[in-house]
């Protein structure tokens, strides 16, 4: 086949030069016009909030909770503009751009925030433009204003409507789900809970709270709604939940109202806000169609006129215009369509292929129901206390059994699971909690012997803590022993021994051709663990927070400042000079070769 330029796609008969020019001119106008319309139609819907969302995720989300309410490393951002309203807007902007500088300058609000947040200075985001910041603020407002719980109620929970109240979901699962169906529509032991607030709407809210906390009490008092429910379900009593706070109950109720995810929101992504502006997409689309139509009509007129003119001048070589359908559905548009489809397909394929192996949101069930929330969150144990490799090695290191024993030699009864999970560690390392000492020759013990030691412990604890009677305790022990056995053996791999390590499921997996060093990021780069691992101190079950894709890594390397005061960087004289002279505000990782291939691939 002969080689032709790419324009071959659009031209057919190069012989008729004049015609071709006019035709191509027409084609071009038509193409450009339609492209313009297309971009107008799809372009500008809520650009600021959307942009704000991306900016928030890239810059703020590692320290500020995306629900905008709860504190993470930094404070909840809902109402941040209100809090700064006594100061000129520029102050808030410069706070975001360079908080440390502002603290240093002694700005009242800046110092106040600094003090309130355990003197953790906020990272400087010098690269953010005014537009960026206003976008972020718009997004923050969008999220904050979109909440479902009434503004006046002092509630700690609550989710934006359209999303699922996670807290409520958890509470529901832990407390209610045993008796109430989670679809909220069908009866189980207890009634279907959908619309419960409506049914109690005639009474003060406190009554419903009281009912949930202790239903028998309310029945005894003869509360009408309480009697109604009791009559329907007696003799089944609802278990009392004395420990639930008002906020907890509010969360549960909120979850009951919105049990399923309404909006499309992937785990780990900020929940999409209720758009404050009206959606103008249809308007633009209509406009686009109209413009297209006008373009078509114009082209028809143009063609007809040209044909008539040609006929008049006696040029018979000009063909009549092809009509509306012919104009739309001709060879050129078909080619363009195929080409566009091909481009779109390729783009889509590449985009999706990149994410194909990303395990973002991966949250496997671990052999031990270990809660980072209890350890890192409630107990404030430093991450690097257990993951001690993070400071000095490429691996953060899953702590060994004896690390757990540092504390759990003394703390033998879990706050949540009692003996259920902790005994697994004892069985792994060979510690007899009843005696308070390590078992000698543990490695040689048979499974029966081990079972005896630990069931004895579980039984004694169950009775001691008043969980169960002696006979029930035996059952509990048997059940828990089964759990221990499953956690510590792996028959698929020929590991039938209780003794020995716990096989955890690895959550964060990098491909073999990636070299990642925790020490580099934690010790040299002084990053917080949460930067990549997310709010780990809030996770009962750990999930992969970051996508861990190369784009994500490289982006961070482009945006993160190097700890340039480290003596190691002394040899970068030019950069130091530029910093000193004020030619440069910061040194990013990419500036010192942080995006070169062999920094991570070798």
């Amino acid at each position: 086949m002969e080689r032709r330029p790419l324009t071959f796609l659009f031209y057919k008969q190069p012989k008729h030069l004049i015609k071709m020019v006019s035709k191509s001119l027409f084609n071009k106008t038509w193409l450009i016009l339609s492209l313009m319309v297309f971009s107008v139609a799809t372009g500008f819907a809520q650009a600021d909030v959307k942009a704000g969302k991306t900016l928030f995720r890239d810059n703020c989300a590692s320290c500020h909770n995306k629900d905008m309410k709860t504190k993470l490393v930094g404070p909840g951002l809902a109402g941040v503009q209100d809090r700064w309203k006594d100061f000129p807007k520029e102050d808030l902007y410069s706070w975001i751009r360079n908080a440390p500088k502002m603290i240093e300058s002694g700005h009242k609000k800046a110092v106040e925030v600094f003090e309130a947040n355990n003197k953790l200075p906020m990272t400087a985001f010098e690269s953010l433009s005014d537009d960026d910041i206003s976008n972020i603020l718009a997004y923050i407002d969008a999220i904050a204003s979109g909440k479902g719980v009434g503004g006046g109620a002092k509630s700690t929970g609550g989710a934006p409507s359209g999303g699922v109240n996670k807290e409520g979901k958890k509470l529901f699962r832990d407390n209610c789900a045993a008796c109430h169906n989670k679809d909220m529509k069908t009866k189980m032991t207890g009634p279907a809970l959908g619309g419960v607030q409506e049914r109690w709407a005639d009474y003060p809210k406190e009554d419903l709270y009281a009912w949930i906390r202790n239903s028998q009490d309310l029945i005894d008092k003869g509360h009408p709604r309480a009697m109604e429910v009791w009559n329907e379900y007696k003799p089944v009593q609802m278990t009392p939940f004395q420990n639930l706070s008002d906020a907890d109950i509010e969360n549960i109720l909120d979850y009951i109202e919105h049990p399923v995810e309404a909006a499309v929101s992937t785990p780990g992504e900020p929940l999409s806000p209720e758009e404050p502006q009206k959606d103008n997409t249809w308007l633009y689309a209509g406009l686009a169609i109209l413009l297209l139509f006008v373009a078509l009509v114009l082209s028809q007129i143009n063609g007809r006129l040209r044909y008539n003119a040609a006929l008049k001048s006696g040029d018979s070589s000009v063909l009549p215009p092809p009509g509306i359908w012919g104009t739309i559905w001709n060879r050129n548009t078909r080619t363009a369509l195929i080409f566009a489809l091909f481009l779109f397909g390729s783009y889509k394929m590449v985009r999706d292929a990149v994410l194909l192996s990303s395990q973002r949101g991966y949250q496997p069930v671990q052999p031990i129901n270990f809660s980072h929330k209890i350890h890192a969150g409630d107990q404030h144990i430093d991450c690097k206390f257990c993951h001690d490799g993070a400071r000095r090695s490429k691996h953060s290191v899953i702590p060994s059994g004896n690390t757990c024993m540092l504390c759990h030699k003394a703390i033998k009864y879990g706050s949540k699971d009692g003996t259920k999970e902790l005994t697994k560690i004892y069985a792994s390392v060979g510690f007899d909690p009843s005696e308070g000492k390590y078992i000698e020759n543990y490695d040689q013990l048979s499974e029966e012997d081990i079972e005896k030691i630990f069931t004895k412990w579980i039984v004694s604890q169950a009775i001691e803590k008043g969980e169960a009677s002696a006979s029930e305790a035996q059952q509990i022990a048997e059940k828990q022993w089964k759990g221990i056995k499953t956690a510590l053996t792996n028959p698929d791999n020929g590991d039938f021994k209780i003794q020995g390590p716990v096989e955890w499921i690895k959550i964060h997996n990098l491909p073999d051709h990636v070299f990642y060093s925790h020490a580099q990021h934690v010790t040299a780069g002084k990053l917080e663990c949460q930067t990549c691992h997310g709010p780990i101190e809030e996770m009962d079950v750990v999930e992969q927070y970051a996508p861990l894709t190369m784009g994500w890594c490289v982006n961070c390397h482009r945006q993160t400042d190097v700890q340039f005061d480290n003596e190691y960087y002394k040899s970068y004289e030019l950069l130091h000079k530029e910093l000193k002279e004020g030619k440069r505000e910061s040194v990013k990782v990419a500036d010192i070769g942080g995006t070169e291939c062999q920094k991570c691939h070798y």
Partner: protein, 1093 residues
């Protein structure tokens, strides 16, 4: 006759004659595989003919597989922590332990790098006064032997060829039932361990009371130094190898002793030798002069200033002639000696003159195993007053203790049935490495009990009754005394592997001996009984000799940490008391036969014990550059028109085809592939010992089996019962063709093209045209910088006596290159200022004057960077994967050329030609000057390799590392049941910090970027600057002569900058403006003008 060709550097005969195949190969990166032969046609890969239908099938399959693979769940990966984490281990951080590599007489003080409790790399221990931080290829490769899948996993009873596994308790019972005293013998190669000897003594006392250890322990060395021991006993009453000081010698004369490669203690000698050979300051240097008298080219000979060719049988005559030459000058009476020809005598007289001028600072050594010759050598050294200066006995070497006669006496005793039990230590393999191994095989059948301690199946284990496998040295406790007063410890760096995974496991040989002796010295209840035993020996013998520590445990801990310990020795003064006339009567008589063959040891294969180690098998022999086998080195000469080898053999070498001939010596005939060797003396041929093993591993897992030819049966004994490593021989004409001739000399050759002495580009004889037409065209366009591409700067060499000429030449050529390079479009200077001058910029300097070509760096690179083993067939197809190759160049005259070794690796060019041709940017440049390779980005176009002027990029033609999903892509090495490297045990050797490359990608030297990154991170963690010499590459640390220096050239006080600024420094192919980061130091000799004339 065109004899002298002093200026030109050459790699082989075909290059000199501009063989079209050579020219083609030199211009192409990917040489065409030799024409498809009959054998290759059977190869299904070659036979595939593709059509469109196939293409669509594969495409469909590929897409389908990708969809299936993508649709599957991501596999669940487990993360298993320690139950009780050992304090010193941090997962992800390497831990180093001091230990000692020992195999027979081979010794190296080492540091073992372990990751998560598994040894992965050997480094030298710089605390050692013996090896001084250097290593050898053998020491580097020893870590792979630990993970040999062939190893015995427990005791075995050999029963008519089939092996029955048994438990240690059963074995102990069986052995002790049969051990009822009588004539008990232990067979071993040199034993350097005081503790082993103590254990053997305890064993001897139990079963042969009233006998001395010497009566029970029969030590022999397959490649024997028996005559040296005997001669020194007779001359000085010291049955040891003296302590040679090559660093104190101004003149070194070696009669066939390969002291840099294989002779006794090569790591130590190389380090000493180079002290007076390297040129740190060209104006002040006093270079030593080295004469080598030999017939085949040894590694040592290739480093010598002068090689004097003498037939193997005339070595004695040459030594006697030298003695007489010295005697006449010194007024001693001469000895009667066979006459040498006038030319050689003249040369020897010149050497004598040189020696006399350096009395007390000269050293004469001989590798001869003839007692008379060794006594004469002693007499020469005594006459020169070298004792007490360049030779001493105070710290005499204990690395060779075996003599040839005792084992022969034992064979006789065994035959007569008077021996009740023999125990064969690991490493000793008398059923293979004795000249009369067949006699040994017969004799051992008459012994009541035979137990081998071998860790791997060998020819000897096959004829023993039991195998009680011992640990690998990396699993053992032990000690070594390589020289009197120099001790070092062996400590385990991993749990004995097989016992740890529920197998019966191995047990230290000494422990077995002590158990069978029922010795009270062994505390069997201790956790590690043999450790306690070694400690007892040290408490008794070594602890008292030092005053630093008063507590034994503190002493032990400190010694274990350092790995080495020195014990003060009483100085030994000697006077020569030998009878030179008697000695002269014992020397070998020059033969009259047309052809003599000499047998030598290679630096990689040794005496044959390393046969199952593929890293060593695949390391090209530095001298003849063949892999996976031994070859018959045949002389080649210029007949005025063409180069002609012995019997007209090997004309097809350039096409990777060798001729197989029949070599007959000592009534034994073997088939062997020939290899043409410049520098091989006419009328002689040579081949290596240690090949042709018939049992090296378990069936299906053996690698070195039947590789090469076993020539041990060709060895003979002299009148004193010492083994002689030469014989009269006949070589037949070609009997067959070796179609898998794995010879890497012409692979990846670069730079040398076709400019003659007269400066004219040579013409193709057929077409009458210049070679390299394309290049010439470029040169015309490039405004006449003619020298640029044809006369390339690859190797500069000169002589110390005319050093100014060499310096001038280098200066001139570099200036010319600089001028050429200044006419560039590349904004190199700008980059340099903006990026390369900031932070680090890495550079390397390789001093070719220090490089002896030993190959330690090459194996170290393989170990460090997970470079795959590809096997012989793949090497034959030019597919070897080594990132670092050692190019061998000849210069000087054709008969005794000088040799230069040039380690060639990625030059990390700042204007890298490979980078800008990559269509997917898989190779790119870093701000630190590294030429980076991102394997997962590479799509395998191989444009980069084509554009690399140094030919250092390697393509993974097959899935050598078994990283592929589909096993069909995996090549097999030596018919293993699993491809080599696929076994989980073998994979334990992999460096976890370096990616395993799969099929279809290019790889190359990364300047050990993992070490660079580690060094940088350590500096950051400690909040300090990174020192310019802090990061060391694997090749650098392996080198026994510090030929390689790596560092940051932005730090002006770094070692590498100091070296770069030396006047002998140049860059290879500097004129093509690639701005390479590797600098070379020119090769300099120190010729004796009298011999040159």
């Amino acid at each position: 006759m065109m004899k002298k060709n002093n200026k030109k550097v050459w790699v082989g005969a075909e290059q000199l004659t501009n063989h079209p195949a050579y020219v083609k190969a030199a211009n192409n990166e990917f040489t065409e595989v030799p024409p498809i032969t009959e054998q290759l046609k059977d190869d299904s890969i070659v036979d595939v003919t593709s059509n469109r239908r196939d293409f669509l099938k594969y495409l469909g399959f590929g897409v389908g597989t990708a969809v299936v693979a993508a649709g599957c769940d991501i596999p669940v990966r487990k993360s298993i922590p320690y139950v009780n984490k050992p304090e010193q281990i941090v997962p992800g951080v390497a831990t180093y332990y001091a230990s000692s590599f020992v195999s027979g007489g081979d010794y190296c003080a080492v540091l073992v790098k372990t990751r998560e409790g598994r040894p992965i790399k050997i480094e030298g221990n710089s605390f050692s006064k013996v090896t001084k931080g250097g290593t050898s290829a053998r020491a580097q490769a020893s870590v792979l032997s630990l993970y040999d899948t062939s190893r015995f996993q427990g005791p075995v009873k050999i029963n008519a060829g089939s092996n029955e596994e048994m438990s240690w308790a059963d074995l102990d019972k069986a052995v002790m039932a049969k051990l009822k005293g009588g004539n008990v013998r232990i067979i071993a190669n040199t034993v350097m361990s005081p503790s082993s000897k103590a254990a053997m003594r305890a064993f001897a006392e139990r079963y042969a009371p009233n006998s001395k250890l010497e009566d029970v322990l029969v030590m022999y060395d397959p490649i024997s130094s028996s005559a040296i021991l005997e001669a020194n006993e007779e001359s000085f009453g010291q049955k040891v190898v003296p302590d040679y000081h090559f660093d104190k010698a101004k003149v070194i004369v070696s009669f066939d002793a390969d002291f840099l490669g294989t002779w006794i203690s090569p790591i130590e000698y190389a380090a000493d030798y180079i002290v007076n050979r390297r040129i740190d300051d060209v104006k002040k240097t006093k270079m030593s002069r080295h004469y080598q008298i030999e017939s085949h080219v040894s590694l040592t000979g290739s480093n010598a200033d002068h090689r004097i060719l003498v037939k193997p049988s005339a070595q004695g005559a040459a030594i006697a002639t030298l003695y007489n030459a010295l005697a006449s000058k010194l007024g001693f009476s001469s000895v009667s000696a066979p006459k040498m020809d006038a030319k050689t005598t003249k040369k020897i007289n010149a050497i004598a003159k040189d020696l006399l001028a350096n009395r007390g600072t000269s050293l004469v050594v001989s590798g001869s195993n003839n007692k008379g010759e060794q006594i004469l050598i002693n007499a020469i050294n005594a006459a020169l007053g070298n004792y007490g200066h360049t030779l001493e006995f105070t710290n005499a070497s204990l690395q060779r203790q075996g003599t040839d006669q005792p084992i022969q006496r034992l064979i006789k005793d065994m035959k007569s049935g008077s021996v009740s039990a023999v125990f064969i230590m690991d490493g000793a393999n008398p059923a293979y490495d004795l000249p009369n191994s067949s006699e040994f095989v017969e004799a051992i059948k008459k012994v009541g009990l035979s137990v081998s301690f071998a860790g791997l199946p060998t020819e000897t284990t096959a004829v023993c009754q039991y195998v009680a496998p011992t640990h690998h040295y990396l699993e053992s406790w032990g000690d070594v005394e390589p020289k009197r007063g120099h001790l070092s410890l062996i400590q385990p760096t991993i749990q004995p592997i097989f016992a740890a995974v529920g197998k019966e496991g191995t047990r230290q040989a000494e422990e077995s001996l002590l158990i069978w002796a029922g010795s009270e010295m062994l505390d069997t209840r201790a956790e590690q009984p043999y450790l306690e035993f070694v400690k007892q020996v040290w408490r008794g013998n070594m602890f008292g000799s030092q005053g630093k520590y008063t507590d034994f445990q503190a002493f032990w801990d400190a010694t274990l940490h350092d790995g080495v310990f020195e014990m003060a020795q009483d100085s030994v003064e000697v006077t020569f008391a030998g009878d030179v006339n008697k000695a002269a009567s014992m020397i070998r008589k020059p033969g009259n036969s047309e052809l003599e063959v000499s047998f030598f040891e290679t630096v990689n294969m040794g005496n044959g014990t390393y046969a199952n180690n593929p890293w060593l098998q695949e390391m090209p022999d530095p001298v003849h550059r063949g892999v996976w086998g031994n070859y018959l080195a045949i002389p080649i000469k210029w007949n005025g028109e063409d180069f002609e080898a012995l019997n007209g053999l090997n004309k097809m070498e350039i096409y990777s085809e060798a001729d197989i001939v029949e070599l007959t010596a000592n009534q034994v005939t073997n088939r062997i592939s020939a290899i043409r060797q410049f520098g091989q003396m006419a009328g002689t041929v040579a081949t290596a010992l240690g090949y042709g093993r018939s049992a090296t591993g378990k069936r299906g897992k053996e690698l070195g089996e039947q590789v090469g030819t076993n020539v041990y049966p060709m060895l003979t004994f002299d009148a004193n019962g010492n083994i002689q490593y030469y014989a009269e021989a006949t070589v037949s004409n070609k009997v067959a063709t070796d179609k898998e001739f794995a010879f890497v000399q012409y692979h990846h050759s670069m730079g040398l093209t076709t400019k003659g002495d007269d400066g004219e580009v040579m013409k193709d004889t057929k077409t009458g045209k210049d070679f390299n037409i394309d290049e010439k065209a470029i040169m015309i366009l490039a405004d006449g910088f003619q020298g640029g591409l044809v006369d390339r700067s690859v190797l500069y060499h000169g002589d110390i006596n005319e050093i100014d000429e060499t310096l001038e030449k280098i200066k001139h050529k570099r200036a010319e290159a600089a001028e050429l390079n200044s006419k560039t479009l590349y904004p190199y200077e700008e980059y340099k200022e903006k990026f390369y001058s900031q932070g680090q910029h890495w550079a390397m300097h390789i001093d070719m004057n220090s490089c002896i070509g030993c190959g330690a760096c090459q194996v170290a690179c393989v170990a460090e960077n997970n470079v795959p083993v590809v096997g012989k067939h793949e090497v034959f197809r030019h597919h070897e994967m080594t990132w670092l190759r050692i190019d061998r160049y000849f210069y000087g005259d054709y008969e005794t050329p000088n040799v230069a070794f040039q380690p060639m690796l990625c030059q990390h060019c700042d204007n890298a030609p490979c980078e800008n041709v990559c269509p997917v940017a898989a190779t790119s440049h870093s701000s630190e000057g590294l030429n980076q390779m991102a394997y997962n980005r590479c799509i395998g176009t191989r444009y980069c390799a084509n554009n690399c002027p140094y030919k250092v990029r390697r393509f993974n033609w097959l899935d050598y590392t078994t990283a592929d999903l589909f096993p069909i892509n995996e090549p097999q090495v030596a018919d293993e049941d699993l491809p080599f490297g696929a076994d989980n045990l073998t994979r334990m050797v992999l460096n976890p910090d370096v990616t395993i490359r799969s099929r279809g990608v290019i790889e190359k030297c990364s300047f050990c970027v993992q070490r660079i990154q580690e060094g940088k991170l350590n500096a950051k963690k400690e909040n300090r600057e990174l020192g310019g010499n802090e990061v060391k590459t694997a090749c650098q640390t392996a080198c026994p002569t510090q030929a390689i220096v790596f560092g940051d050239d932005n730090q002006k006080d770094s070692h590498v900058v100091e070296r770069i600024e030396r006047p002998l420094t140049y860059r290879v192919l500097e004129e093509i403006n690639v701005q390479s980061s590797i600098f070379y130091g020119a090769r300099v000799t120190n010729k004796n003008e009298e011999l040159e004339a």
